[in-house]
């Protein structure tokens, strides 16, 4: 029986329901010191002195560490390389000191007693002002060095290929050192193509800083071992990634750092090496285990949320052929650290899933005194989609064509030139749009009561192409154990189990997925970029196939049947066509795992580098009702139509797509990290930072299609991030339909909707 393609509960669900999962917060090694952070009060300042005496006098407080106390071996322009402020504070909430104590309470008492003396500087917050040549700098001391590996990962996953660097002539605009760029993508003569279009629309759009709001705040635990090595337990998406980065920061051999991924209590792209450098440095400094888990307010204050953008976009089209050309200029607020900033990718992403004949697309990453940029599900996507998909709708309106018809005409297909200059990989935009046209929610569009609106939008995510490896062994009882170093994120292990069961031919109950740490696991990429199932899933399939081949070779000798005439069904090895002559996998496994054996144990190996992406396209349809008297927006109904390649586990696919819809509603209506004019965070808790709670989320209908990938396991594509690539656009188009005028700023809060509704 095929397991792939059937609904199964997550293999970690039972433990989670019973509270048996051991999260990072549950780990309490002997001799543990608890860390608590002293966070910067100023948004921008020079640190003159950190006075530790009073804190150190508190019973239980063991140490107060500042940047000088961490045995770092290098510096670089990344948050990960600056775990504590080095001389200059660059955002309010930045960790300045780490108090270590025998109890968490003592550490918190210690934090209150630390005095940080500073000289304040102007906070750089306004994007347009910040890039002007005479702007004050958000960072007085510029730190040299290259961005490492991090942003590059998502930039690549989002679709910027090799992309030639911007020609020097492009930098016509004089800018300050706060501006990084321009990143520019150009093709054809955009000006002429726009001029030759039947209709042209343009607008300026603003989006907000948005936090990932995973349920479990960030945290890590570092344990110094007697041999001088350090073991890090971390709530991270990428154990190997953390190992590489902290080893580099502290100038130690990667072999002296062992990173163990703890079960994730949510991540959404936000959990990469934020706390690990801190606890690693602290453990090295004091020689005791150190754990730091942020509180919710600390996570809001000092986490790495998603960037705000200002997007200027102009696009043109004709009735007969669809979209023609676009011109864009995007300012992406990367904050004080651009670790995961997408400034290089947004000029590509803003082209959406469409074919264009000409474009001129540029962006700047802008350094400001707010947080630093983290990755958040489909980084850059919700921002560009908000601009692009509203304008596509306006254009359809101007041209007098159905909004989906226009998108259908313009959908890119395999071989079309992408905005990054690379040809499109096979992509099912047309199929998804056609399916959406048939969706009952979309069809309802024409017959709505007053103050209601239905909006549609399309989006695409290219997907990461990480290399990976995995092993598969056959256990003495005939079960199989797959070893992976990929952290189980949103159910990936559950899909791995199905892949392994079907590939080998054993029941799902006989499959064990064993997560291994960086000391022992085959190499695994971070769980992110929608690349885990796509790459690791395929490595696992290859490892299982290898193991199966080894088993069949051995069985072939034993049974005197050619291996090619043997199959494994339901845990039985049997000659094809003679099921009654079968012998159990266990029968053979016992023979190669005993004290004396004629053949070696079975251990399969799988290695995979996907090479090409398998982009996933999604359409979202949103139905809203507004109260014109108060501006409140109620999301009444929602549908997600997405090409998933192959739904390895339909239940998990539905969960991902519904989650994408919910987060889209959050981006669209509620979520915004706000600062005042001094750079003080105004929305630092769930009392001010609104997320869509269950009572504000409608039924989300999921209608996926399966256009198989030639690369992913069983035809699967990376789906998780495509699921948020259309939401802000669909919601904005729905609100516009209900209100009768457009809102060009996220989130579309009730005051903004009220004003739009009453200024018609």
């Amino acid at each position: 029986m095929s397991i792939v393609g059937t609904d199964r509960p997550r293999i970690d669900a039972d433990d989670k329901l019973r509270g048996a999962t051991r999260y990072l917060g549950d780990l309490k090694p002997h001799g543990l010191l608890h860390g608590r952070l002293v966070l910067a009060m100023d948004a921008h300042a020079t640190i003159n002195r950190v006075i530790k005496d009073a804190a150190l006098a508190i019973p239980g407080v063991v140490a107060v560490l500042t940047a000088e106390d961490l045995p770092t071996a290098m510096e670089g322009p990344m948050r990960q390389f600056e775990p504590l402020a080095r001389g200059e504070i660059v955002f309010q909430g930045q960790p300045v000191a780490l108090v270590l104590a025998e109890t968490e309470a003592a550490a918190e008492d210690g934090v209150e007693a630390v005095i940080v003396e500073t000289t304040s500087h102007a906070a750089v917050l306004d994007l347009e002002a910040a890039i002007k040549p005479d702007s004050p700098l958000a960072r007085i001391r510029q730190i040299g060095g290259e961005m490492e590996g991090s942003a590059a990962m998502h930039v690549e996953a989002a679709g910027e290929g090799e992309g030639a660097p911007a020609p020097a002539a492009a930098a016509a605009e004089p800018v300050s050192a706060n501006a990084k760029g321009p990143h520019r993508q150009q093709h054809g003569d955009a000006t002429a193509a726009l001029a030759g279009s039947e209709a042209v629309v343009k607008g300026t759009f603003r989006t907000s800083w948005v936090h990932q709001t995973y349920m479990e705040p960030q945290g890590a635990l570092a344990i110094p071992e007697v041999d001088g090595s350090v073991t890090i337990h971390s709530s991270t998406q990428g154990a190997f990634y953390v190992r590489g980065m902290v080893a580099k920061l502290y100038g130690v051999d990667v072999s002296t750092v062992r990173v163990v991924g703890a079960p994730l209590g949510g991540a959404f792209g936000g959990k990469f090496n934020l706390i690990d450098p801190l606890v690693m440095g602290a453990a090295l400094a004091v020689g005791r285990p150190v754990k730091l888990q942020l509180t919710r307010s600390e996570d809001f204050a000092s986490g790495m949320p998603a960037s705000a953008c200002i997007l200027e976009l102009e696009l043109g089209g004709t009735k007969a052929t669809g979209l023609t050309a676009f011109r864009s200029r995007i300012l992406l607020d990367q904050g004080a650290y651009g670790d995961w900033a997408m400034d290089g990718a947004v000029p590509v992403m803003i082209g959406g899933p469409y074919r264009w004949s000409a474009w001129d697309s540029l962006s700047y990453g802008v350094t400001t005194n707010r947080f630093g940029t983290g990755a958040y599900r489909g980084p850059g996507g919700p921002q560009v989609v908000f601009a692009l998909e509203q304008l596509v709708d306006e254009l359809a309106n101007k041209l007098g064509v159905d909004p989906l018809e226009l998108r259908l005409k313009s959908a890119a297909v395999e071989g079309d030139t992408g905005v990054d200059g690379d040809p499109w990989a096979p992509v099912a935009g047309r199929e998804v749009i056609e399916r959406t046209m048939q969706h009952p929610l979309y069809k309802k569009r024409g017959s709505l009561p007053a103050n209601e609106g239905i909006g549609v939008a399309a989006g695409v995510w290219m997907g990461a192409r990480f290399p990976s490896a995995a092993t598969c062994r056959v256990d003495q009882d005939g079960g199989i154990t797959v070893v992976t170093g990929a952290v189980d994120m949103s159910g990936t292990n559950t899909s791995f189990a199905a892949i392994a069961a079907d590939t080998f031919g054993v029941p799902i109950e006989s499959v064990r997925i064993s997560y291994a740490d960086t000391a022992t696991a085959p190499h695994a990429p971070p769980s992110g970029g929608s690349g885990v199932t796509y790459s690791v899933g395929q490595s696992i399939r290859l490892a299982v196939e290898d193991a199966k081949e080894q088993l069949l070779d051995f069985a072939s000798d034993q049974m005197d049947v050619a291996a090619s005439d043997l199959e494994v069904v339901d845990g039985m090895v049997r000659p094809v066509g003679s099921p009654d002559r079968g012998k159990s996998v266990a029968h053979f496994a016992e023979q190669v795992t005993g004290f004396v054996a004629t053949a070696p144990p079975i251990e399969g190996r799988g290695r995979f580098a996907p090479g090409n992406p398998s982009p996933s396209v999604a359409c979202h349809v949103a139905h809203v009702r507004i109260d014109p008297a108060t501006g409140e927006v109620e999301t009444l109904d929602y549908a997600v139509i997405q090409d998933v390649g192959k739904a390895l586990n339909p239940g998990l696919v539905r969960g991902q797509l519904q989650g994408g819809a919910v987060q889209s509603i959050g981006w669209a209506l509620y979520e915004e990290l706000q600062h005042d004019e001094y750079g003080q965070l105004l929305t630092g808790s769930f009392m001010q930072y609104a997320v869509p709670r269950a009572d504000r989320v409608p039924n989300v209908d999921v209608d996926y299609i399966e256009v198989p990938s030639a690369i992913g396991p069983f035809g699967a594509k990376g789906i998780a991030e495509a699921a948020v690539m259309a939401g802000t656009g669909a919601m904005a188009n729905a609100v516009a339909a209900a209100v009768g005028s457009r809102i060009r700023e996220l989130p579309m809060t009730s005051p903004r909707v009220w004003r739009a509704a009453n200024s018609r």
Binding site: A105, E108, D109, G631, A690, R696, S750, P751, W754
Partner: protein, 284 residues
């Protein structure tokens, strides 16, 4: 997220709790759902917590008046049939609008009133119902009219060494009904504005009305202009704007002052409309 150190003890009686409050560093704790969050943020750091949770102050007595013990939970209030029967639907509706199930189960009416959070739901209903707050002190019990009770943000007429023991709701005349309307902050769930209206309808006319407004400014207040308009049969929301104009209205970067003034008037109008519809026999 960890409170500063404090001592803890259970009160054995109301008198015991009152006596313990002689220590200026002591604070009583009821449901703990306002106090503990403030302690965790170290915005409150009492030296001693006196737990009154075990005192016999919980329950709703329905007689000539409705007397609600201060430890009665929001959930119990929301479910009590006595209020609707007396035309005091708004009181139960205010309680139902508080937080989520856990909060309503743990949080108490006495704690809410004593806390004096200008963004809390309860004051609107209390003002509309012309309730009295019964307090116990060293010199025995006294009652404070609701109109004199709320004095500013987190500031009430409660004395330093006094305990809220009950809330007393007089029963309105026959033909009365009430309603509570609010618009909640999508983040906190607290009202950006909440308005409760209690009307008495006789011969097709509104003969009496009280309107309580919360969430908008530092002190919950009576909307007297809207009350006059209601009695005159004039458009209420327009008159409500006058009530709001006199107030120092909250406003921030998420929900600015102009917006909040506007929705306050809208919500007051809606509360009055719904109360009248109820009094006229509509089931709403």
């Amino acid at each position: 997220m960890i409170p500063a150190q404090f001592a803890y003890r259970r009160a054995t009686s109301v008198a015991d709790a009152v006596a313990a409050l002689a220590d200026p560093d002591a604070k009583v704790i009821a449901g703990g759902h306002s106090l503990v969050p403030m302690m965790k943020l170290r915005l409150a750091r009492p030296g001693t917590l006196i737990d009154i949770g075990g005192l016999p102050l919980r329950g709703i007595a329905d007689g000539a008046e409705i007397v609600v013990g201060s430890l009665t939970s929001h959930a119990d209030l929301a479910q009590a049939a006595a209020f609707a029967a007396a035309g005091l639907q708004a009181v139960a509706e205010c309680a139902a609008a508080v937080g989520d199930v856990q909060v309503r189960n743990a949080g108490t009416i006495g704690g809410s009133v004593a806390h004096g959070d200008p963004a809390s739901d309860a004051p609107a209903g209390l003002i509309a119902a012309d309730a009295r707050i019964r307090v116990a002190g060293a010199a025995g019990e006294r009652e404070i009219a609701v109109d004199a009770f709320f004095q500013g943000p987190f500031w009430t007429a409660l004395g330093e060494q006094e305990l809220v023991s009950a809330i007393v709701f007089p029963k309105p005349a026959a033909g009365s009904a009430s309603a509570y309307e609010s618009i909640e902050d999508p983040a906190s769930g607290y009202p950006l504005v909440g308005a409760a209206a209690l009307v008495t309808v006789a011969g097709g006319r509104v003969t009496a009305v009280r309107i309580g407004v919360t969430g908008v400014s530092g002190t919950p207040f009576r909307a007297t202009n809207a009350e006059a308009a209601t009695l005159a049969g004039a458009p209420v929301a327009d008159a409500a704007r006058l009530d709001i104009t006199g107030q120092d209205v909250f406003g921030d970067t998420r929900f600015d002052e102009e917006y909040r003034r506007h929705i306050a008037a809208v919500v007051i109008g809606r509360a009055v409309e719904r109360a009248i519809a109820r009094a006229q026999g509509g089931s709403q």
